[in-house]
Amino acid sequence: MTLRDTLQVAMRSIAANKMRSFLTMLGIIIGVASVIGLSALGEATTISITQAVESLGTNLLTIDSGAAGAGGVQFGQGSAQTLTYADAQAIAADDPDISGVSPMVQSNGQALYGPNNDSVTIQATSADYATMKDLTVAQGSFFTNQEVTQSANVVVLGSDIAQILFANQNVNPIGATVDIRQIPFTVIGVLAAQDTTGFQNPNDYVDLPVTTAMNELTGSNYVGSIIVSAQSPAVMNQAEQEITSTLRFMHHLTGSEASDFQIFNQATTLSTLSSSTQTLTDMLSGVAAISLLVGGIGIMNIMLVSVTERTREIGIRKAVGARRSTVLLQFLIESVALSVTGALIGLLIGGGGSEIAGALTHVGNLVTPGPVLLSIGFALLVGVVFGVYPARKAANLNTIDALRYE
């Protein structure tokens, strides 16, 4: 018997049992499609979360007041103020791997322009902040280093604040004087609207030079925190070390004295996040794997149900002279053809589905080779094992027993 004959017999058998063939494939189709689709979904979620975090800036370090995780009594972060404007200046002046420094002072207050007023978050910072946070100024400009040094009474408004204060006023906000906590500030810029992340609305912020805030609002030399940007994500660790030694020097800390500040690394946050999204991906993959398994059980079921018919078929083939190996080869080809076709259809559906979903969500298509190979491999295995197992059993029977099988 030629291979061509064997192939033809297998194909005819598939065509002759359309319903059985379809049901067999259906299990594989659903299994493969769900593994591929769900793992792409997990991948997409991971990427979009990572992108969101990265948009905060991967080369940023945040320095907070407070003891760094020492034993004993633990004070809350920033429970005692230890960071000063001078610290920020020292970091900017001394540390080579640093590209920008923003001392931060946050406060709340009322902003007033003519009849309009609104409560705002006052964020005082340095000129570097705009670059470090990639802020876009829609009108006017952000304040300069000089304005910070001079502690000028200038303000940059968030887009929502600008809208509220200048509603129905028909004036250009730039150059207008706005009262914040009853102190007049000249508006020099309005920020473009930013995406809201989390619970805070950055469009509700007003940005002042940090020196102005210290002089006019808080009356203290302390700043809440300092945000530092490293030259590149690659030098984050060096930057962190430089900052630590600069600050310890500034704070007169020696030897084994604990630091009175903490440095948070954006990259660490990122890795924590991505490990939790990895868990999500794994979970989705697990669900998909279960559906593949269920598909496999479906195949097994159909194959076992058809075993009577198949056993008799094998008995007949053997009775008229088929060798055991020929019969097994025919069944193997049949199973492989079914499971490969099923896997390919599953791949098309799963891959196509993720392609469409990817295009709609702008994450791009995230079908990775891993799940594709895994699910197709598993589908093949299931198809072959459950296709050939009954065949093997039947082929090993006494011919007459196979013919009589009920």
Partner: protein, 284 residues
Amino acid sequence: MTAPTREGDQDVQPLIEMHDVVREYEIGGERVRALNRVSLTIQHGEYVAIMGPSGSGKSTTMNMVGCLDVPTSGTYRLDGIDVASLSDNELAALRNLKIGFVFQQFNLLSRTTALQNVELPMMYAGVSRKERRARAEEALARVGLSNRLQNRPNELSGGQQQRVSIARALVNRPALLLADEPTGALDSHTTEEILELFEDLHRQGHTIVIVTHEAEVGRRAKRIIRFVDGQVAADSQTDSRPDSRADSRADSRTDSESDSGPAFSARFATTPATPLPPPVREGF
């Protein structure tokens, strides 16, 4: 060279030689004996009918002879070779090329056309597609089914299925034809045609064993073996006819060319593959 006869040459190897064959089935822990020490010998070229009441072990014997089943105890030699010593592949080749089996239950592939069913043994024999098809069509024509080539078994009557099964058994021109109730589902006219077909084959030297309930059919054979309760109860030659077995066998070649008109038997006569039973072990 003339074919050897049973009477003339005692050294000649019998084709079928069963000795004390027992076949037991285990049913619910109890042993049921379907064959109880059956011994029988059939020579090359014989035409034998096996008769006996239902359940007497006729089919069981046929399955054994056709290498589909193996004895629980006792020996079965086919053309001198102990079948128990043959490998699975050797048995497959034997069933494929040397033995044609007409099953009592037909045993056709259900989702396969009549033509494909008849082609099946030739496919396993490695016959080319073209020849396969031609021979299958011819065999089906010989059993009167030219107009049912593309029907599946469930689209055929019982008698038609039986004839497809006969065509399949004959299509590889087996030296040994085993037919279990081959006319059980046939009307008298069709029965007659099939019996003529068998007689043609017999004249050409094929060995034929049929199981039948019909005395009419049994009488057409040259020898009748009666089974009762899994044992051979009687073994007799039928009434001698003008053409005794030895005579007919001697002229078989000229005979079949001159007076056996139907294409099917002509094919058997003229094809070199037709095994006229040789006295040697290899290939009957």
